[in-house]
């Protein structure tokens, strides 16, 4: 590995971590799309800052652009407050308008501005090591590493200082007001940090992929845990992994680094989305199927319990009475047999002792709706687990 390669991976990692931390809170506060809006609407801020500083990495430019991001949030909230349109429409109206202004500003001043919309939107990590921070002639490393490093440091310091406040205002705004922690201050603080992070990162990974780095690790972690600290650690982990894996995929395909970082994130998310133990798609589908069968089983047992006459308990009668398909009735029957709840004698179904007990318990549960009645059954059946 050459030293620029190491530097690129370092920058990618720092960007990923710096994005993942505010991302967790954005996802939890249902404001994920605000990051999308900010990432687009900082464009006019960047252009204006560029006119003043003529340097894409200047701190003034970053502050100006971050200010545009905060203004976006304020504008969205102002429009929403008029009640003329819903929140999502307000977001969708504000950022394209600001972005258009930015694009037009760039196009009109194409001769003076060495700034190109593609670069802002897409970024190019591969060039990052060439822009170096020189302090009285000494090479201190790539500029963007220093910028993102300081942003990350600020984010971390703020996180440790205000973790409790952020946590309570995220999960219960009412409680946090009552405790004297203003949710509004927390809201705008988070918005400012997100804005600054987005602006700092656009140079490296581009405005749209910042959104991926913010939302995807947090959303992936959210599928795996419900604990805030674990969620933060996990999303930082996913961020770092995608930075490293993404770099090597890009190296191998000779393609955009930020694009492949996002693709890696996408694949990780897809995997977790499908296979997460409790909240993944397969687990959810399996649980639904299981529950459906169990409801059928109970219906069936209750039916048997209600009828003593043989005609009603005949195996062929099931189809017509409870209106089930053939396959379904067969599988329910098998399940009941396997659990020793019924016996079949000359095609007449009858409840066993165990089945009778179970049905009585279930009936009692349905009537009283009290949990303790079914405590012992919970181990065998999904249905009663909540």
């Amino acid at each position: 590995m050459s030293s620029p390669q190491i530097e690129i991976q370092l920058i990618a990692m720092v960007v990923a971590i710096a994005c993942a931390i505010p991302g967790v809170f954005l996802v939890l506060r249902k404001m994920a799309l605000i990051s999308d809006a900010i990432s687009h609407s900082i464009l006019p801020g960047i252009v204006a800052g560029f006119f003043i500083t003529h340097d894409l990495n200047s701190p003034i430019l970053i502050l100006l652009a971050a200010l545009t991001g905060v203004i976006t949030v304020v504008l969205v909230e102002a429009i929403q407050k008029t009640g003329l349109v819903k929140e999502d429409t307000a977001i969708g109206l504000v950022f394209p308008a600001l972005f258009s202004i930015g694009v037009i500003l760039i196009a009109k001043n194409a001769n003076d501005v060495h700034l190109d919309v593609d670069a802002v939107l897409l970024g190019e990590l591969a060039f990052a090591p060439f822009d170096r921070l020189l302090l009285s002639g000494v090479d201190l490393g790539p500029k963007s590493l220093w910028i993102m490093g300081s942003i990350l440091l600020i984010t971390l310091v703020l996180l440790f200082l205000f973790f409790k406040e952020l946590k309570v205002s995220t999960f219960d705004a009412g409680l946090s007001s009552a405790m004297g922690i203003s949710p509004i201050v927390m809201h705008y603080g988070l918005m400012s940090v997100s804005s600054i992070t987005v602006v700092g990162a656009f140079d490296a990974v581009g405005a749209i992929l910042v959104v991926a780095l913010m939302i995807a690790p947090a959303a992936t972690a959210y599928l795996l845990t419900a604990n805030l600290k674990k969620m933060m650690l996990l999303s930082v982990g996913f961020g770092i992994f995608s930075a490293l894996a993404g770099y090597w995929v890009a190296h191998w395909l000779d393609a955009s680094i930020s694009g492949s970082m996002t693709t890696v994130l996408g694949l990780v998310f897809l995997g977790v989305y499908l296979f997460a133990p409790n909240k993944g798609l397969l687990a959810v589908l399996y649980r639904h199927k299981q529950q459906r069968t169990e409801v059928s089983l109970i219906t069936f047992l209750l039916h048997l319990n209600n009828h003593s006459e043989e005609r009603e308990r005949h195996i062929n009668h099931l189809n017509e009475h409870i209106n089930w398909q053939k396959v379904r009735s067969q599988s329910v029957l098998d399940l009941a047999l396997k659990n020793n709840m019924i016996t079949i004698d000359h095609k007449i179904v009858s409840l066993t002792e165990k089945g009778k007990e179970f049905t009585d318990l279930a009936l009692e549960y349905i009537i009283t709706n009290k949990d303790e009645k079914i405590e012992p059954m919970k181990d065998d059946f999904f249905l009663f687990r909540g």
């Binding site: 996802v27 249902k30 404001m31 994920a32 799309l33 990051s35 999308d36 687009h40 429009i79 008029t82 003329l84 349109v85 819903k86 999502d88 429409t89 977001i91 969708g92 109206l93 394209p96 308008a97 972005f99 258009s100 202004i101 694009v103 037009i104 196009a107 009109k108 919309v117 593609d118 939107l121 897409l122 749209i208 992929l209 959104v211 991926a212 939302i215 995807a216 959303a219 959210y222 599928l223 890009a250 395909l253 000779d254 393609a255 955009s256 930020s258 694009g259 492949s260 970082m261 996002t262 693709t263 994130l265 996408g266 998310f269 989305y273 909240k279 993944g280 798609l281 959810v284 589908l285």
Partner: protein
């Protein structure tokens, strides 16, 4: 080229005519279908889908190697639809919220698309130039074939819209009721979503991935301010969309270095701002005026109520009282007294006022919530 020149040329010049027609038709279909997106609170779905379409374009190019617009747009349609249904799956099957799902699909698909695009660019044989026009859109690349396609799609969606008008409308306003009436809500839902995706994909070439959502939203949001009726709103939105397209093209053609997409979006934004402020029913300006008028009326009524209190102490309520008595009560001026006189509630003579019969009745019934006569 100045604006007037543009309007002279638009009927004769082939390129200008094609582009203008294209953007107008695009604006119309986006406005039409965007109305449903806005009312269904799916405003940002457009943003997500337009980004999600990018890998479809790149893959279609990689597989077929052709630069034919229709094939590329077909790829965009497929990946847009995959994105849409994945969003839906995520919202219904996991505890991730709508905003997270939209943001995920938007950024992940777009990132994958970028990976493919940069990969294509490095291919030796590729005549890939022109794929990145889908990022920001280039109305200038519209040819007659593209416009024909747009007109065709607009025609089809118009027919579908008219055929299923009742179903779309009822699903929009009361989904549960629709289900109980026995409609196949799933089918109607998928149908309208499909056409929204179609409109978005159609606009990619002209305004690009990034600004497409505004094309969908802005005309509809503007139209919403002028009416409470769905059919009027759809019609107005189509109109606003078409006008944004035409004006945007005109302005961008009349200046150098102005790309069409952003200008169209800004024109649409002007429509929205204008509607927000000046629409008579919901607009901010008239709302403020209404508030002021109400406040003034309340003030007048308060003064009248105070006078009523004084007049009541006298046997004959028309007995004149000095204006000075009112000084305890702060909320009146000469002008408001004159206003009260105009309404025939009091009569002013010199420094005295006296209540009229009408004013007395009005004051008596003021808090009864019933209109006099």
């Amino acid at each position: 080229m100045s604006l007037t020149e543009y309007f002279e040329l638009v009927f004769t010049d082939y390129t200008l005519r094609t582009i203008t027609l294209g953007t107008a038709v695009l604006g119309a279909i986006c406005g039409m279908l965007g109305s449903f997106a806005v009312l269904r609170k799916q405003s940002l779905l457009g943003d997500a889908i337009s980004h999600a379409a990018l890998p479809g374009i790149a893959l279609a190019f990689l597989i077929t190697g052709a630069k034919d617009t229709n094939i590329l747009l077909l790829g965009a349609l497929v990946s847009g639809l995959i994105g849409t249904f994945w969003i839906r799956g995520m919202i219904t099957k996991t505890h991730l919220k709508t905003d997270t799902a939209l943001g995920l699909i938007l950024s992940l698909f777009f990132g994958f698309g970028m990976l493919l695009l940069t990969f294509i660019q490095k291919q030796p044989n590729a005549n890939q130039a022109g794929l990145d026009k889908y990022l920001f859109g280039q109305a200038a690349t519209l040819v007659e074939k593209d416009v024909t396609l747009m007109v065709l799609v607009t025609g089809i969606s118009l027919v579908i819209l008219l055929l299923f008008w009742k179903e779309f409308k009822i699903l929009l306003f009361d989904a549960d009721y629709t289900k109980t009436l026995g409609f196949n809500t799933r089918f109607i839902d998928i149908l309208i979503t499909f056409f929204i995706v179609l409109a978005i994909v159609l606009g990619l070439q002209t305004v690009g991935v990034v600004l497409m959502s505004a094309m969908l939203l802005a005309p509809a949001a503007a139209a919403r301010q002028w009416t409470n009726k769905l059919s009027t709103m759809v019609f107005l939105a189509a109109l606003f969309g078409a006008f944004s397209g035409v004006f945007g093209t005109a302005i961008s053609a009349s200046e150098n270095n102005l790309s069409t997409g952003p200008v169209i979006v800004l024109v649409a934004a002007v429509f929205v701002t204008f509607s927000f402020i000046f629409s008579p029913g919901r607009g901010l300006l008239f709302r403020e005026l209404r508030f002021r008028k109400n406040r003034r009326d309340l003030q007048l009524q308060k003064t009248l109520q105070f006078m009523y209190g004084i007049a009541q102490t006298h046997e004959d309520f028309t007995h004149p009282h000095a204006v000075k008595i009112l000084n305890n009560f702060q909320g009146f001026t000469r002008k408001t007294l004159q206003k009260l006189e105009e309404k025939n509630w009091i009569t002013l003579t010199g420094q005295d006022w006296s209540m009229t019969a009408q004013g007395f009745r009005k004051a008596k019934n003021l808090y009864n919530q019933q209109e006099d006569e």
